[in-house]
Symmetry: C2
């Protein structure tokens, strides 16, 4: 059997640039991590690469609504890397609370492996962004999390609630699980509550 | 017929935030713009949303190779919006030179429509990023373009040259069309030439 192109690439490239190109190739797998939200008129599910792009640009668009002033460039970088660990750990729907507990250790192991494909200085830099996103102790991470919650809610609303119904999600769950929106961007939480109320009125979400 | 959720959203949201959320919903269509590059082991084509995420994070990873010092945050923002016009104008393969000429007017019309979904101050800000990317007159745009060329070349190499063969692309075309990599990042152009030479040796790309 002939070697895979990725192996050829790794052999042919040495040192720092080799590690960096190895990382660029590795992260491409984020395209194969499928999420719960339905897109394209309900014809397909969103994947993590599409989601990461959408939340990054959404943060650039909505950063004026952050509860505290944020460095929007740092928020964007954080959102570009926030789901890389799911290449190994997989996506768990935001409403699957038991699954998310279980996922914590898998995400940590994934962070160890994936960021360390990079040269050590960049591994530390990207890992710091991910740690910050997970720890929710800075204005940037709290706002990034708000956007990360609002985006699937918006997709679910735009999809007429199909993904909520499929998983038997209630309005109470949507309110409770998406509270990080209130912490990071109160005006966007007002919007989120309007969407939830409207979804209930239309029968897309049981009360 | 009941109204579509996107129309409900537009009616329910007024003013600035309504325009911004309209933009967030609009740009989601970038997921449906299919590109030429094959991904996921050749099983599917890449779409523009995935590509936009990949080039943004690739630029963050490789910015030390820019020919002139760059503001990497501006490069990232530019790459996040650079293909939005393809929601209306469609993607044209980099090697389809006639098609790309033809696409210029469609892209301009698309920029007029899509960025103006935003409030006027943000429409101007995002449009300026796109204009800068197209004009290639700044260090940031020249580097962004280099990354935008290198990414599909890397995917085509990692895919064993399938997309090149499918379109009858030659090594000479790959060298010629991807010269922006040399302008923006000479060290990455050395890498690109190594990939092309190796693809020729392996019979993935006719000389």
């Amino acid at each position: 059997m002939s070697p895979e192109p990725i192996d050829l690439l790794r052999e042919g490239l040495e040192g720092r640039l080799g590690q960096q190109i190895g990382f660029v190739a590795e992260i491409g797998h984020l395209r194969t991590v499928m999420r719960t939200a339905l897109v394209d008129g309900g014809r397909t599910r969103e994947n993590d690469a599409e989601h990461s792009w959408h939340v990054a640009l959404m943060a650039a668009t909505l950063c004026e609504y952050a509860d505290r002033p944020v460095d929007s460039s740092r928020v964007i970088r954080m959102l570009l890397v926030h789901d890389l660990v799911e290449i190994d750990a997989g996506d768990v729907m935001i409403y699957d609370e038991a699954g998310r507990q279980d996922q914590v250790a898998r995400k940590l192991a994934a962070a160890e492996r994936i960021f360390n494909v990079l040269p050590s200085d960049q591994a530390a830099e990207f890992r710091a962004l991910w740690d910050e996103f997970e720890a929710l102790q800075t204005a940037e991470s709290v706002f990034a999390r708000a956007i990360d919650c609002l985006q699937p809610m918006l997709l679910n609303y735009l999809g007429g609630g199909a993904a909520w119904r499929e998983h038997g999600i209630t309005a109470d769950q949507v309110h409770r699980i998406n509270r990080p929106i209130a912490d990071g961007a109160p005006r966007l939480w007002d919007l989120a509550r309007e969407l939830i109320d409207d979804a209930v009125r239309r029968g897309w979400l049981p009360d």
